[in-house]
């Protein structure tokens, strides 16, 4: 029996990410935890999950270890299709990518994500972030968006400084249609302490699961907007010994991502 103390926050995120993926789907991944989550899913409940890397590969086999970059050689190893950015983003725009994994610095209750800047203004940002990268396009056109974030009050806020990646906008039912984007929008938000979904009616963020030992109230404390609570809000599943073995020896044997101590933006 695995105790929670044996599981690192990143292992919790990767495992929860894996659980969010259905079999027979395409996952558009970024570097790090999304790859680990998708690899774990492939090794367990979803053997027919395949990956898209934005530099242009489809269904590669990560037999050389963890890619260090979404464009690196390892992302193309034994792929079935190797082209460039246009090819894979066009497959996505056409409707062939089921899940987007994105990150960011801030998220609001409608799943809009900021990864452009924080503080100051767009023209004179206090802290400028790298920018959208693929995230804006993935959040627009993958069928479902999964965001990975650290659960902190300064990140889960009422309105983000800049919407880099579209969620449900202002929450109105036709927001995404008027935006001209194709995917269904935010699906899950994964943190080390809680798993969130979105209410179908209001499109607002909803607590689905919380870390064993925490409570829904404790999670609400870490969020600056009012969370909806799922009718059957429950504790998050903890990885089994087998899951941990896979994560540590197959998915990220060098401990490059799972071994980190602090959460990066």
């Amino acid at each position: 029996m695995v105790s929670l103390a044996d599981v690192s926050p990143y292992e919790m995120i990767a495992f929860t990410g894996s659980r969010a993926l259905e079999d027979n789907t395409i996952v558009f991944v970024g570097t790090g935890l999304p790859i680990i989550a998708a690899m774990h899913a492939q090794l367990t409940h979803a053997p027919n999950v395949n990956l898209i890397f934005e530099s242009g590969s489809l269904a590669s086999i990560l037999d050389q270890g963890m890619p260090m970059s979404v464009g690196d050689t390892r992302c193309f190893r034994n792929a079935v299709f190797a082209k460039g950015l246009c090819a894979v983003f066009e497959l996505t725009q056409r409707g062939y990518a089921d899940y987007a994994f994105i990150g960011g610095a801030q998220i609001d209750m409608y799943g809009n994500v900021c990864s452009t800047y924080q503080g100051g203004s767009y023209l004179k940002p206090k802290v400028r972030f790298p920018g959208s990268g693929g995230a804006g396009a993935m959040a627009a056109n993958c069928e479902k968006t999964i965001a990975i974030m650290a659960l902190e009050k300064r990140r889960f806020i009422k309105q983000v400084d800049f919407i880099t990646s579209i969620g449900f906008g202002d929450g109105s039912s036709d927001y995404r249609e008027k935006a001209g984007v194709m995917g269904k929008g935010p699906y899950r938000v994964i943190t080390n302490q809680a798993l969130f979904g979105f209410d179908e009616e209001t499109r607002r963020m909803m607590l689905l699961e919380y870390l064993p030992g925490k409570s829904p109230e404790a999670i609400q404390e870490l969020v600056d907007f009012e969370l909806l609570m799922a009718p059957q809000v429950r504790e998050m599943a903890i990885p089994t010994e087998h899951d941990l073995m896979l994560l540590r020896t197959k998915c990220d044997p060098e401990g490059f991502f799972l071994g980190r101590k602090i959460v990066e933006q």
Binding site: G56, T73, L123
Partner: protein, 362 residues
């Protein structure tokens, strides 16, 4: 052109009015930052289309094609197949008031930014059209942060697909391209694309202006002397940039025979017509990686980034300046630089770390 069509972002955004007004003016007063699609066509139409050898040194190519005020598009993606050797020569030559366009990049824009900070009379960036500027797992880009916070460059934000699609439109000879993104995010308010009503479906559709840089700089595994190029692993946006740019400098690890190109014409990702200079350069993407050739030189990324980070924190330029003096202005050629930094054993090791990805050179 602003047509008054927009998503609901206009009422939901928290951007200040001044920013929105200023950015809107960039749409209404739209100008291509570089050749217009028509101008790019005129350059293409005037070129010699015969199969002539275009081999020359990178230095010669840079002398010939790099000019102040020009718009350069970067091939490669983040740390992969990045055109560092060409860029190194551009920085050595010196060029001012650059416009840069790239999808996601790391050391290329940071190298130019560093040169601009230590030798502003020699190198300067005026504006950047980009999706992302950072080092992925290595960390954020300190010089981007510095330039942005101090309003030293004008920025135009897109997504990776947005930039790729803009190069693609440039490559297609069309003035704009519709995409299913940007709308509904703050990108709709700040970048130079615009929302229109699709004339066929009536749906809100975001359009992006074509991007035809003055100069594309691209590094590939192999090309013949005419410029027919093969790429293995990620194509990134190299075929699109090469075809969109008015001129393209192509460096390659190996020049291969034209009979090889003709044996497998399907493997040609960039046709000779769109290439103006072919420069054979081993390790032409170092410290980046080239599929089938060599892996990242992580130590070098970390070293340069640490100098930038120190400058960002302390404002002291001494170490950064010493880096440029030694590794840019203290070397005559790229081969000299590689020999100065890496031992033969280290080069062998970088090749080994690639894992022997299969490439076809015959």
């Amino acid at each position: 052109m602003e047509k008054g069509v927009h998503s609901k972002i206009v009422s939901w955004s928290v951007l200040d009015k001044e920013t929105v007004a200023k950015q809107k003016k960039r749409k209404t007063d739209f100008q291509y930052w570089g050749p217009t699609p028509k101008e790019a066509r005129q350059v293409a139409a005037a070129k010699n289309k015969s199969l002539i050898s275009k081999t020359m040194s990178i230095q010669q190519a840079v002398e010939k094609y790099v000019k102040d005020g020009m718009h350069i598009g970067f091939g490669g993606f983040v740390n992969t197949r990045v055109p560092t050797a060409i860029l190194w020569h551009i920085i050595k030559k010196g060029v001012k008031d650059l416009t840069l366009t790239f999808t996601s990049h790391s050391i290329c824009p940071e190298w130019i930014a560093g040169a601009m900070l230590v030798y502003p009379e020699h190198v300067s960036i005026k504006r950047v059209e980009l999706a992302w500027w950072g080092y992925e797992i290595i960390g954020i880009a300190p010089l981007l942060r510095y330039l942005a916070a101090n309003e030293m460059i004008e920025m135009d934000d897109y997504t990776n697909y947005g930039i790729a699609a803009r190069f693609k439109a440039g490559a297609m000879g069309i003035p704009f391209i519709p995409v299913r993104e940007n709308g509904g995010s703050d990108m709709e308010l700040v970048n130079r694309g615009t929302m229109i009503q699709c004339p066929f479906s009536g749906e809100n559709t975001y359009i992006l202006p074509a991007c035809n840089p003055d100069l594309g700089i691209v590094h590939v595994q192999a090309a013949d002397k005419y410029g027919n190029a093969r790429i293995f692993g990620p194509l990134c946006t190299c075929p699109e940039i090469s075809q969109a740019a008015a001129h393209t400098i192509l460096s390659c690890e190996t020049i291969i025979d034209n009979t090889a190109i003709r044996r497998y014409p399907n493997l040609t990702e960039i046709p000779y017509l769109v290439v103006d200079a072919v420069c054979e350069q081993k390790f032409g993407s170092w410290p980046g990686a080239v599929y089938g050739e060599y892996w990242f030189d992580m130590k070098q990324f970390l070293n340069f980034r640490s100098l930038c980070e120190e400058f960002h924190k302390t404002g002291n330029k001494d170490k950064l300046k010493a880096y440029y003096d030694e590794y840019f202005f203290g070397c005559d050629t790229w081969d000299d630089l590689i020999a100065k930094i890496l031992s033969p054993d280290q080069l062998v090791d970088l090749r080994k770390q690639d894992g022997g990805q299969p490439v076809i050179l015959s």
